[in-house]
Structure formats: structure tokens, C-alpha cells
Subunit: 198 residues, 2 copies
Amino acid sequence: MLETALLRQDFPNIILASKSLRRAALLRQIGLEFEVRPSEVDEPDIPHTSPALAVQELARTKAKAVAAPLNTGLVIGADTVVFIDRQAIGKPENDAHAIEILTRLSGNRHEVITGVALVDLDRGREVMWSEHTAVYFRRLRQSEILEYVRSGEALDKAGAYGIQDRAGAFVERIEGCYFNVVGLPLASLVERLWGLLE
Amino acid sequence: MLETALLRQDFPNIILASKSLRRAALLRQIGLEFEVRPSEVDEPDIPHTSPALAVQELARTKAKAVAAPLNTGLVIGADTVVFIDRQAIGKPENDAHAIEILTRLSGNRHEVITGVALVDLDRGREVMWSEHTAVYFRRLRQSEILEYVRSGEALDKAGAYGIQDRAGAFVERIEGCYFNVVGLPLASLVERLWGLLE
């Protein structure tokens, strides 16, 4: 009785409703098979009150949009936001904005919140939750920030960094799920998949 | 003035005194160039008192062994141990031992301690330190443990798991540096490299 094999048997059609290559890599890391169908949902601004609920709602909207034309399969939607001082930090608009964001994160703690929604068409069940991870950057030199932004890695990433790339050396400590910072909380995802079968 | 470029200029000959592919991948992740020269040092048992000093000493022994015939370069030595209930957990001897270790880690907190030593032959300086990360496994099903051990991933890894492989889904929380659990604490490494230049 193999675990991932069992999950594969029970969820033969997993659909990742995200175009994130990092999320796809995480699912592959734990041996799940899936197809990718990004949703066409625009990302609205997250209201300042209850970001945990807002990201879950957005994850659910994405999953539902992809699930709508289907009648079988398990759809995974996810949305990740970065917060510092209770303020949402989106993706940088340009290099100057990325420098501003990284300067703010330098030497400080911020929060990464991922909302995840599972829409199980075969069992007619839905589940959603959010995972919080605290991330502590060491104090960065200005030259480190500039080099990182020039490398092009900062763009298209919430919080203007990817912990799985060069910016890994910026992060001296996390409290919570590491994979949540990359984009998908693996341990809670596997637990919820099992929960759908109970 | 590019940061990693500057570090590369100041440390043109970085030598990783470890045959760990994971440590090499971490150095590549942050853009450092290096060559690999594993030490021939046997890993002695870590005494129960002060594991933090023991891993530093072992890291230093490895780095010094590789540095001995050289007259230039920066040698990085490292050693990682896993502790649970103050007891060192080494690499599993066989599949049955791996199952025993993972069963013990399931639903519990353990500590990963990496000792790192830098031997800077050009500046005649040495520095060593240890990094501690607490790791929390969710409660695993027996079938998950068996499947993981059968996959062959458990062998040759301290604590019988690799957080960067399928076992990533076992880890619900960490407190500390993630890369330390993989095998090398990147943020403190970069800080110490800069420190050698001061």
C-alpha cells in the first residue's frame, strides 16, 4: 500500500489551476501527477482586513473557474501574498519598485500567506485553508539588492524575491512551512487530500 | 558593484570539502563558483555533550584535511547531524533502521545542526560556527513511511529523510534556516564570507 500511489489512484485527474512553474515543481517533488490549466481570473486587490480569508477566496475563485466546464477531477487553486506591517506587498511593477520592496524586507520579518482551495468534482466536496509562514531577512547590503534585481529574478514574484533562487541567501530564518513560501504548503496539502477521502 | 561578483573576485578559489550533491547545489543556487574536493575524514561519533561544538570540530577537521596540501583558496567544510530528545540520529544502516527513525520523527520535533568551517588560506583566517533549525514532522501514516523508504531516498541521509525530496510533504513547520536542513546555512555562510574580508 503505497501512499502517493494510493493518492494517485484516488485522484487520477489532478488539475493545477495555476501557471506557476514553482507550484508545478512542488507537486512533482512529492510524486503527484497532474495537468496544468491556469485560470483566467484577474487578481483583485486583497482587502486589508482578514488577508487569510481573502487569499482563500481568491484561490477558490481560480479553482472554481477552472472546474466549471469539467465534470471530473480534483482542481487545486492557490494564491500567495506577502505582508509586512499588515500591508500586502504584490509583485514589483518595475526594477525601482523591486529595490524599494527588498529594502523594506531587509533586516525585517514579513509574512507569507498562501490560500489553497481544492475542488473535488468526483466526490462533490470542496475544502479551503490558508497557511502562514513568517520569514526573516538578514540585513542586506545595497549592492546585494541591486545585483539581485539586475538578475531579473525579482520580477513576477510576490515580495520581489524567490526563496528557492539566489535570494535563499537573504533568508536567515523562517517559522512555518518552507514550501508555503515557495508557493504551495505541501504537508497541509497532502493532509487535506487524505481528508477528502474520509 | 555586484555582490556575488565581488565575493567571487575576493574568493577566486572556493573549495567545497564535501561530496554532498545537495551542498554543491546550494552553492550553485546562490551563484558561487567552486570546486569539489571531498575530505577522506571518517565521521566519528558525536559525543552527547555539546553537539554544536562537535559538528563544528568535525567540519573544521574536514576543511583542514583538504586545505593541508594547498597554499591558496577558501575551503568550506560542513557536517550535519539530526537530534531528537538530545540523541544523535545518524544515517540509517538499512531499510528497517530508516523505518525506525522515521517512525520516531513522525508527529515530533527534532533538531538539525550543521557545523560549518571556513579555512581562508589567502588571508590566514579561520572561522567556524553552527546553525540550529527545529523541524516538525506531521504525523505520518505507516504507508507513507514504507513508500518513502522503498523509494530509496532515505538511505545515505542524516535522519533518514531529505526535505528537498518527497519527504518535503512530511515537514509541516520549521523554525530557523531552511537551507541548513538541506545541508548548508546559506544566509550565515554569505555573512561569514563577508566577515573574512573585514
